[in-house]
């Protein structure tokens, strides 16, 4: 009886070839951007393309210390993303616990409401926010951007946390059936430690999404608060594109999310599947 017989060699080679193409298509543009960021503008436009060249740090020097420094933009991104992430987690974790575990009236309706807010197209929100913030002088401020970032991060974080709370074994709840102070204490000391991993993953996702946000930043930001995603356009104008500087700026701007992605790789895959696979089994 043949159980898992090893596949024949040509087949294995074909499989690896296809996997290799997938690898190249996804990783090569990023790798190419990394190479470009160390090239001079002349090497960038060379044909045939050069793989061996004298690397230069001039592009990084320019985007960090030069006239088109993106350091202030990195600071903007960091401030807005951190504020938005902290507020999101503060509101999302308790709400998610209640939705996952407690009985209360209109529970289903509440779930649908949170889901519906997640479906809103951002362009529908940006118009009223622009008009209101313009009136109250909230354009180009950290608070304005932080508040609108909650619109996409809060529903997302609530749903993701709900799926983590649902994984906590029910026996843990027994402890929670005390007086009100007891419930709160049980939530803090018994339940929350169980979902530490989930909180970490959710925090990473929320931060990542806030860091990468563009539409809100470009409309509601300005000269003072200009997140790094908007600053990428500094290197592109009608007359010319500064390829190497753009590549260096992009590498710098994306370094945090790429590092998060690589280090938290397992968690990200789990986070994606918790949202998808478990979401498939809900209700």
């Amino acid at each position: 009886m043949r159980t898992a017989a090893p596949p024949p060699l040509p087949r294995v080679i074909a499989l690896y070839a296809i996997a290799g193409i997938g690898l190249a298509v996804w990783a090569f543009p990023v790798f190419w951007g990394l190479l470009t960021s160390f090239k001079t503008e002349r090497d960038v436009l060379a044909y045939p393309p050069v793989f061996v060249f004298t690397p230069t740090l001039a592009n990084y020097r320019e985007v960090i210390f030069g006239a088109s420094s993106i350091v202030p933009n990195l600071v903007s991104s960091l401030v807005v993303s951190t504020l938005a992430t902290a507020l999101t987690m503060l509101f999302a974790v308790p709400a998610a616990y209640a939705m996952a575990r407690l009985r209360f009236p209109a529970k289903r309706g509440t779930g649908f409401y949170v889901l519906a807010t997640q479906m809103l197209p951002p362009v529908g929100l940006i118009i009223p926010y622009y008009l209101v913030l313009q009136k109250i002088g909230g354009l180009d401020t950290y608070s304005g951007l932080t508040v609108i970032y909650l619109t996409f991060s809060l529903p997302f974080a609530i749903w993701l946390m709900v799926s983590y709370f649902e994984d906590v074994p029910l026996e843990m709840e027994e402890a929670a059936l005390l007086d009100r102070a007891g419930r709160l204490r049980a939530l803090w000391h018994v339940i929350l430690p169980q979902v530490k991993g989930g909180i970490a993953v959710t925090t990473i996702f929320v931060f990542l999404n806030a860091w990468n946000e563009f539409m809100f930043a470009v409309v509601l930001g300005g000269n003072r608060v200009r997140p790094v995603t908007v600053a990428m356009f500094n290197f592109i104008s009608v007359e010319q594109t500064q390829w190497a500087r753009l590549a260096a700026g992009a590498m710098l701007a994306m370094a945090p999310v790429i590092l998060i992605g690589l280090f938290a790789q397992r968690h990200i895959v789990k986070g994606l599947t918790v949202g998808a696979v478990k979401g498939g089994g809900r209700r």
């Binding site: 407690l102 197209p121 059936l177 390829w243 590549a247 992605g261 994606l272 498939g280 209700r283």
Partner: protein, 295 residues
């Protein structure tokens, strides 16, 4: 009995105390602005000519009927959403099925798949515009020149531009479908397959009768999530083509944005946003219905 009752009451009160802050934030930051959006859509709000602003009733919506740019953007939204979602699921599922069979090196591909997902769409759009799709010196043209093929103006030609932005979106988000489906596939019990193998079921038969029904919930969920992302796609297209050339890649989302913030006609922009939102809600409602019906 009264003890149980007060316990229940207590639980309810505790739940409300935990929920109300988050719900209050959601109402204030999403629902209230939406009501204001609806109100705005009934007005003429022209920041370029503020003296013309005022209540306009349903004028903005009536205007859409005879606005070719609106119908164009609606058609483009349909093409863009349908093609990117179908491509992501087909490519992602095929790749997952193949990769599942390779004994070693799956991890490397999983790491590579993370890269596009974590990048900001605006950076992806700019990368493709410069490094990948630029005429002559971009990666695609370099490869095609090496094979003696002509170079193309990928983002300058209207039809190629639409294909290009679809390719960009597919490049960035196929890894999502791939990773989710690979994870789902690897949780399937192997003994099911063994039984089928003894039955001499062919590979295609095994796939359609065994694998596909088992992973259907995951596929449906991927389709739902990817559809939502495609409908609100913005930054990558904005960075790569800006909606152009002309309005060749101007999906409804970009049209609403350009109307509001390039032409400063916020009233009409609000009406367009209302239409986009209604479409999104109807589609998501239908998809959730479908998901439940199939189970």
């Amino acid at each position: 009995m009264t003890g149980a009752r007060s316990l229940e009451q207590q639980e309810r009160r505790f739940a409300l105390a935990l929920l109300v802050p988050a719900l209050a934030v959601l109402v204030l930051t999403t629902t209230a602005p939406l009501v204001y959006l609806g109100w705005n859509s009934l007005h003429r709000i022209d920041l370029g000519m503020p003296w013309l602003s005022g209540f306009a009733g349903a004028d903005n919506f009536a205007k859409m009927g005879s606005d070719p740019r609106f119908w164009n953007s609606l058609a483009l939204t349909g093409i863009y959403t349908a093609s990117t979602v179908v491509l992501q699921v087909l490519v992602g599922l095929s790749l997952a099925l193949l990769v599942l069979q390779i004994p070693k090196g799956q991890g490397l591909l999983r790491v590579a798949a993370i890269l596009p997902i974590v990048l900001a769409p605006v950076v992806v759009g700019l990368f493709w515009r410069t490094l990948v799709l630029a005429p002559d010196v971009g990666l695609v043209d370099m490869v095609s020149r090496a094979f003696g093929l002509p170079s193309h103006n990928w983002l300058g030609d209207p039809q190629l531009a639409l294909i290009s932005v679809i390719a960009i979106h597919t490049w960035q988000w196929t890894p999502f479908a791939f990773l989710v489906l690979l994870a789902t596939l690897s949780t399937l019990p192997p003994d099911v397959y063994e039984a089928a193998r003894l039955d001499r079921a062919g590979a295609w038969q095994r796939f359609f009768h065994l694998t596909l029904p088992l992973i259907r919930p995951a596929i449906v969920m991927v389709v739902i999530l990817r559809t939502m992302t495609a409908l609100s796609a913005f930054a990558a297209i904005f960075a790569a083509t800006g909606g152009g050339p002309g309005s060749a890649t101007e999906i409804l989302n970009l049209y609403a944005y350009r109307t509001s913030f390039a032409e400063l006609n916020l009233g009409y922009g609000a009406a367009l946003a209302i239409v986009l939102m209604s479409i999104t809600l109807v589609i998501s409602y239908l998809m959730f219905r479908l998901r439940r019906a199939r189970r």
